[in-house]
């Protein structure tokens, strides 16, 4: 059953009771029946007011639940749903206020009728007074309830403000964290890129090391060949030196033979001189032989000199080749150590390449996880923004509700004033009936004022 149907039902009941009271008042001629009718009507009004208060409390509880569940709200649809619920509650409350205003008018009309009937029958209007007291009691209860509502609404407003501030801080923190994580992601990307480049460089270094190892092995083989060739050359130089020594010995033998030939030729010359004219031709031959022996001796001496110089050069060459062989041995050791170093570099580059692969994989995992974190933070940011917007809306709605409650309090205040003024009115009305009519007019003024304020509140 909707609120509207309930209100129509309450109006029908009030109209029925009022009609019953109006019909019974000339017939009953007794104030007890009239009192019963008024009491029934008042009970009905109290039931209607209690229903309105329960509806308002229910709406406020829904608002509290909406604020408490603000963090869980996601999306505009839920927010709009909550706002629509709140708007529906406000509409119901406005309708209830209109209904209360109408009921108040009807009650005022009933009270005025009761006052008139009591004045006509000359009876004191105790029923009216009791009715007013009951209404005042109802007004006080409503006033106290509204006070509590204002207090609770203020607390809800403060909680909404704190929620808004917290949501703002959460949003700022999420934005900052998102920026930091984006920078971290960029750094991780740079690390991954650098790792890839370093891996390529290490790969190139490894290839270079492999080529260097091959070159070193070729160099080692070449140096071994050179060493063998130098050894062979050294042996040949030694053999050449021995041959040179033999040639020098031969040259010395030739020199000695030449010396003996020269001496023989000289003796032949002496013999030819001793032979006189017969030995003249022999002397010429001996002279020629001496000259030839001298030329051979000179040539043999030159050969001997050359051989001596060749021997010295051979000795120097042999020493140089020996030194070269020693140098080649030392360089071979250096090449061997260089090869070992290059192999060690190759192993190191292999290990470095494996480490860089691990670094690259770790960077990719970090990048992926960072992207996930950014997505999570974006979701958190969206939720925080939604919660902040909901908190703001809740605050504004709560503020509006507070104003409406204040106006409702202003509306209920004339009822309290009428209850406070009732004893004075009762004392004056017990003295004269004309005064009771004026007091009835005065008593109707707060009710009219309350009805007017309630009307303004509803219009606003």
């Amino acid at each position: 059953m909707t609120i509207r149907q309930l209100l129509i039902l309450s109006h029908v009941l009030v109209a029925f009771v009022a009609a019953g009271i109006a019909g019974l008042s000339p017939i009953a001629n007794s104030s007890s029946a009239l009192v019963y009718a008024v009491v029934c009507t008042t009970a009905l009004s109290m039931a209607t007011g209690w229903w309105c208060a329960s509806q308002i409390r229910r709406g406020l509880r829904l608002i509290e639940n909406a604020i408490a569940d603000g963090e869980r709200l996601k999306g505009d649809s839920e927010f709009h749903k909550t706002a629509a619920n709140l708007y529906a509650h406000v509409q119901r409350w406005v309708d209830s206020a209109a209904t209360g205003r109408q009921q108040m008018r009807e009650v005022e009309a009933v009270l005025a009728s009761v006052d008139r009937q009591g004045t006509e029958h000359g009876e004191p209007h105790n029923a009216s007074r009791q009715l007013r007291l009951v209404l005042a009691s109802v007004g006080r209860e409503a006033h106290e309830t509204l006070k509590q509502l204002i207090t609770c609404n203020g607390e809800i407003y403060q909680i909404g403000q704190k929620l808004s501030e917290g949501a703002q801080q959460q949003s700022d923190t999420a934005v900052k964290a998102t920026r930091d994580i984006e920078r971290l992601s960029e750094d991780i990307g740079t690390i991954e890129k650098t790792s890839t480049q370093t891996q390529q460089a290490v790969k190139a270094a490894r290839e270079t090391a492999v080529q260097a190892v091959e070159i070193v092995s070729q160099l080692r083989a070449g140096m071994e060949c050179i060493r063998e060739e130098v050894t062979v050359g050294e042996t040949k130089v030694r053999l050449l030196r021995e041959h040179a020594l033999e040639i020098g010995a031969l040259a010395r033998t030739i020199t000695e033979v030449c010396a003996k030939t020269d001496m023989l030729a000289l003796n032949a010359s002496i013999e030819s001189v001793r032979a006189g004219e017969h030995g003249r031709g022999f002397a010429v031959v001996a002279d020629e032989i001496r000259k030839l022996a001298g030329q051979v001796a000179n040539s043999a001496r030159e050969v001997e000199d050359r051989i001596t110089s060749i021997e010295s050069e051979m000795d120097e060459t042999y020493k140089i080749m020996s030194s070269e062989r020693a140098g080649i041995d030392a360089e071979a050791e250096h090449v061997e150590s260089l090869g070992c170093s290059l192999v060690a570099i190759q192993h190191s580059t292999d290990q470095m390449q494996e480490h860089l692969k691990k670094v690259e994989q770790a960077s990719q995992n970090q990048l992926r996880r960072t992207s996930d974190i950014v997505t999570f933070l974006e979701n958190v940011l969206a939720v925080a923004d939604a919660g902040r917007g909901n908190s703001e809306e809740t605050r504004w709605k709560t503020k509006t509700l507070t104003e409406l409650i204040v106006r409702l309090t202003d509306v209920l205040e004339p009822l309290l004033l009428s209850a406070q003024n009732q004893p004075t009115t009762h004392a004056s009305s017990s003295g004269a009936s004309g005064a009771s009519a004026r007091s009835g007019e005065r008593n109707t003024q707060p009710a009219a004022k309350a009805a007017k304020s309630f009307e303004q509140m509803v219009v606003s």
Partner: protein, 162 residues
């Protein structure tokens, strides 16, 4: 002048010893030979280099008086074997140049006062001053010098023994 007469354009054996050039008549030279191993005669004058065995005979080996006064005789690597009155003898020299025809001038006086009897004359060859020696005079001079020394030696030995 105590020089012997010598035929003009005679062949001479030109040799070098002690840095001086000398010449001997080629017909008086029997042979030119390498210096053999010499047997040293003790307490003899340095003119007598020693004795050698050459051609199945023992030869006295002499050196020039001018060369005998010099301290080193290492360059004396050849010797000339000559015919002498008492048989062949040898003369140590440094180097033989050859057999040359020389024009002898008999003016050796004043050059070698102590052994002028051994020099027959002088000549020039290849812009060098050459002394032409008399083999017999040289032999006799050496003989006199040896005898004199041995006589002094025997006298001193006798005096020493007495």
């Amino acid at each position: 002048m105590n020089a012997l007469s010598a035929p003009v354009d005679e062949k001479y054996c030109v040799f070098l010893t002690g840095g001086l050039w000398f010449a001997l008549p080629a017909t008086l030279i029997r042979e030119v030979a390498e210096r053999p191993t010499l047997a040293i005669v003790p307490r003899s004058n340095p003119v007598l280099a020693g004795l050698c065995h050459e051609g199945s005979e023992f030869l006295p080996v002499l050196r020039l008086p001018s060369r005998a006064s010099q301290p080193s005789h290492a360059s004396e690597q050849k010797m000339l074997i000559l015919h002498g009155p008492n048989g062949a003898w040898a003369l140590l020299i440094d180097e033989v140049h050859g057999i040359e025809s020389l024009e002898c001038s008999h003016d050796a006086e004043g050059y070698f006062d102590d052994w002028s009897t051994a020099v027959m004359g002088t000549s020039t060859w290849n812009k060098q001053f050459v002394r032409i020696l008399n083999p017999d005079g040289l032999y006799r001079l050496a003989e006199q010098m040896l005898k004199s020394d041995w006589a002094e030696l025997s006298t001193s030995t006798t005096l020493a023994s007495n």
